[in-house]
Amino acid sequence: MELYLPKDPLNIVICGVGGQGNIVASELLASALVNKGYYTTVGETYGASQRGGSVMSHVRISTIKQCGPLVPLKEADIIVGFEPIETLRIARDYGNPQTRILFEPRPNYPLGVLLGESLYPNIDDIEKELGELCGTVQLIDATKIAIEAGNPQAANITLMGALTALPEIPLANTDYDQVLQTRFSGRVLELNQKVFAMGYDLVNQG
């Protein structure tokens, strides 16, 4: 099988908040890539937070060698954000004018915002700054889609559908489906296949 990457290594940063399932999402993506024959390295930063803290995964894809588990600063090619302010935080550190961003606009409020001590920024302002920092920015209403499909927890797979549809990712939607089938079964599998397709179509058509 011919391996091809538009850039080697291809660096993806997936970020969000603990409990949103982005670790699982990045693992599924990387598994699909390894199954295709790519060297793939995943570095996960989640610390002590089962939930509630900032979480990010770095996925680095290469046809040549096993990369280190961290993407150097400013060298993300794609950022997938599960939460708006986390996306912006990561875009400032890892984004560059060529970086492509997919992000979920639904906020997950940090404690300081809940307690009324800090304000959650306006989504339009976040999107605007993301646009200034990076190349293209696309909003993906993943949670909304997942709720429509039956369970908000599936938002992570929705975003993976959107990511897989990007031309840079050397995967067909069927490649990802194989991995879903090894990991899930029954109704959970059906739900994940459904939201994956919805996320995929959103980017593929748009």
Binding site: T40, G52, G53, L88, R89, N96, N108, L111, L115
Partner: protein, 636 residues
Amino acid sequence: MEWMITADEPGKTYLLQGNEAMARGAIEAGLQFAAAYPGSPSSEILTMLGHVAKDMGFYAEWSTNETCSFEACMGASMAGVRSLCIAKQNGLLVMGDALHTAALYGCKGGVVLIVADDPSAHSSTNEFDARHQARSASLPLLEPATFQEAKDMIKYAFDLSEELQQVVMVRGVTRIHHGRGNVTLGELPVSKSPLNDKPSQIENWDKLFAINFFHDAMYDKLNRAQASFEQSPFNWYRGPKDADCVMVVSGMGWLYGEEAIDTMKLNDQVGILKLGCTWPLPEQFIVRHLVGAKKVLIAEEVDPFLEQNLANIIAHHPELNVEMYGRYQARAFPHSKELTPDLVINALADIMQIELAPKPGVNIEPERQVIIPPRELTFCAGCPHRASYYIFKQALGLQAHGGLIMGDIGCYTLGALRAGHYGVNSMGCMGEGVNMGEGLGQLTRFGFDKPVMALAGDSTFFHSCIPGLINAKYHNSNMLFIVLDNAATAMTGFQPHPGIGLTAMGDPAQPISIEKVVEALGCPVTVADPYEIEKSIAVIYKLLKEPGLKVLILKRDCATLTMRKGPKRRVWVDTDLCRGDDCGCGRYCSTTWGCPGNIWNSTKKKAEIDEVVCIGCGVCTTLCPAGAIKIEGGEE
């Protein structure tokens, strides 16, 4: 994934987590016995092994603490079986005495001790460097640099351990343990257990005595390990012969170092000496590759361990004449925190006097930047610990002189932060709370007038609190010891413990009741539900009035367990009743309770429930002074 670590598919490549790779490596090595206490980032190893143990014909247990796990492995080894012990850096120190004495008599069946260090302390209170313990106990030490090595080294370590009759330590770091990469599987073992052929492995004259008589023998083993390391496939040199500059790397230093050299296209100028065997160091191998070098950049995780041992070798070899750059005196890398690719690139560029091109990026003036609120760690929606700290704050608020809370290690450690209203006065290591509380509680006799409380989780209780509790009881310290029993070792990922009634291999076990253990010590024990806020406050208030040692168990399942169990009850806000920002509330549910499920709609000026994260515990319905928060099945 379980099926990947047991797949009989030699040569097949899968994406494996470092922990999975190590588990696979142990299975390939013919592991017979595995024991550990959970600790991030190592916990997944034994979880995986436990799940497959029955199918693969070995034994695995979640031991009650790290000393138990290590000594159990030494016991099993005495019968000739290969035993794997896994711990995080703190756990290694817990078993410190056992480790040092075991090193004196050594092992029979191979014993491999995997220690997961946590540089930058992502999921720890500290970033202690475990490697010092290997040197201190005179144990051979290996450090995997890739996910493939994480697997391969385990088999190598077992073989070495049996060859030397000595425990071998393998030190990983978070980026290996919690990273993932391509791993090509090896052969599964053919023969299962040495006990099958010879059930009575241990002769009556087999005795393991830790006596100083063996000190020389211990050194002899170390010397043999060194000889073996001179030939080890885990040490290699890549680069030009007689390079002026050589990077000496271990662990993550390899991938970052390689990336730095490749990025700056220095392959013709800079050599890289990668060491997988870091104690004792393969002296001849190192001298051979450094003899022409003028500058050495040492990239390793946490302490300048490799660097100082290298300095020792250099001091003994006048033919070496190098300048060293590493963690020592922060000459190349900071004293603390983990390596990053940028740190390594910058350090190498500095030494090579290369000016790096500025990275592409847009600079937005600070005043035009969106203000991003910090994301503090907090308890999950519905977490019983949030309720507990809310209770503590009020119960101690009602005391004339406040009070002290001696914390411990678990999810509830987050109570030290705003999530727990900065609720603890100490948090350090496991089992510490009850002991520090005991000490403070003895000061009443000198007029110390603050009530003292000490915390422990259920798993921590079994791990390290029982001797402390006995001490506090025997000396009748004025203290309230509180067990936050959420029926889970939640922080590390829900490993079973002796109170749960399940083993690592999925077998049922007779659960040990914390309440009964406490009662058996003669301590008065009260059980309360942290979800019942007012009742629990009154209970603590009453207990603090009583002299001597009191024990309270605040019992409520972890919210994540509750969520997994099934459909949740819907919670909503009756906006007609909600007082919002006005007096008589001042949006109490969000500003004070602080559960991620209780959000504030700043447009409507009313409270709301985030139904995606709410688990339906209903505690906030009891806190709303207006009764505006409603729960399905609750009072209308």
